[in-house]
Subunit: 116 residues, 4 copies
């Protein structure tokens, strides 16, 4: 079944294949790369206040945009190597989250709320 991320997935396959990079793209290595890119994204925010992070300057926003792209690309590539559909997984997780965080208990509190 086609999914909305198929075009990027296919581009990444062709990109890696043309460079003979499948040998480096084990799930272990891709999970490392994904984590490293997430930290590069995080780095842009580490000395900002929360208020500043809600109102980025244009150059910072452009840099953050590129890191978001890197995270998404590695996520799609990793999921592809594992045969996982990230969109379907996310939809299922949203259903689980609705149960895990009932509105009446979760409203306005971050207590016990350590992850979505």
């Amino acid at each position: 079944m086609p999914t909305p991320l198929d075009p990027l997935r296919d581009q990444l396959r062709a990109f890696a294949s043309a460079r003979d990079w499948d040998q480096f793209h084990s799930p272990k290595n891709l999970a490392m790369a994904l984590s490293v890119e997430s930290s590069e994204l995080l780095e842009h925010f580490q000395w900002l206040t929360e208020a500043q992070s809600r109102d980025l300057r244009d150059d910072a926003k452009q840099a953050v945009r590129e890191e978001i792209a890197d995270v998404l690309l590695y996520l799609i590539r990793l999921a592809d190597q594992l045969g996982i559909d990230p969109i379907a997984a996310a939809h299922e997780k949203m259903i689980a989250n609705e149960k895990k965080y009932p509105v009446d208990k979760a409203r306005g509190t971050a207590k016990k709320y350590t992850e979505l």
Copy 2:
């Protein structure tokens, strides 16, 4: 312009709004959460060989699938708070990557290849 991630983006908006969680969802905090989820994903691979990581057991694959979902959800949420379209950003990054890693120079080598 509608994008393929709009349905998840809208679900996440409604989810946060119903719980009054926008106050916690500053880009700074969401970038932290994204990084933490990427590490939870990484944790599943840390003691595996690369070969083992290419052939996960079913229970490990299911756990990894849920972490992939978490990373995608926080990425969509973070991008939304910043007004960034992750799909468009990823397509642009692929064009930049084609230039940065010319096939004839990048073929079969991970040298200087520290990130996509």
Copy 3:
């Protein structure tokens, strides 16, 4: 030359040796484990305000204390596998930092200050 972290280093060597874990303790894997532990530490702070993070509750402080221990232990173990003395490296880095961040330019600003 003996260093202040030698006792922990030696304990970690004996610990790994008794369990035949040197086979898993490649620098690559230890760097992953260190990064994962740093994220577990980070997780405790992700939904706190900066003010709250300066005034942790006792149970949170105890949990953070254990994560700090984990990070230090993996750092010592990784450095040992690479033949690196972390204390000497840190002293040298402090000298470099004094030059990189001159007091008169760095005073009161986090601009360009993306890392120590």
Copy 4:
């Protein structure tokens, strides 16, 4: 009671104080910086095989050495802001680890061994 990391802790205090950086050094921000530095360390290993990571070239080892220094410095700074003694915490953790991973059960297996 004096600990082996006191000299670095005191240097870091003086360094931050001279630059008026205590305002940026909330535990939340320092935990982010520590995590970012751990990922910069990880980045050096992401495309290496485990065997390659056990036998780094000189330039790579020097770069890794500096990242190890950064991680240690932020760890000391974070612990100081929280009033935590990292050495004492690590010694206690080693005692807990001896119990958690009995030699006869943990020998030669990374199963269930997701963290020290």
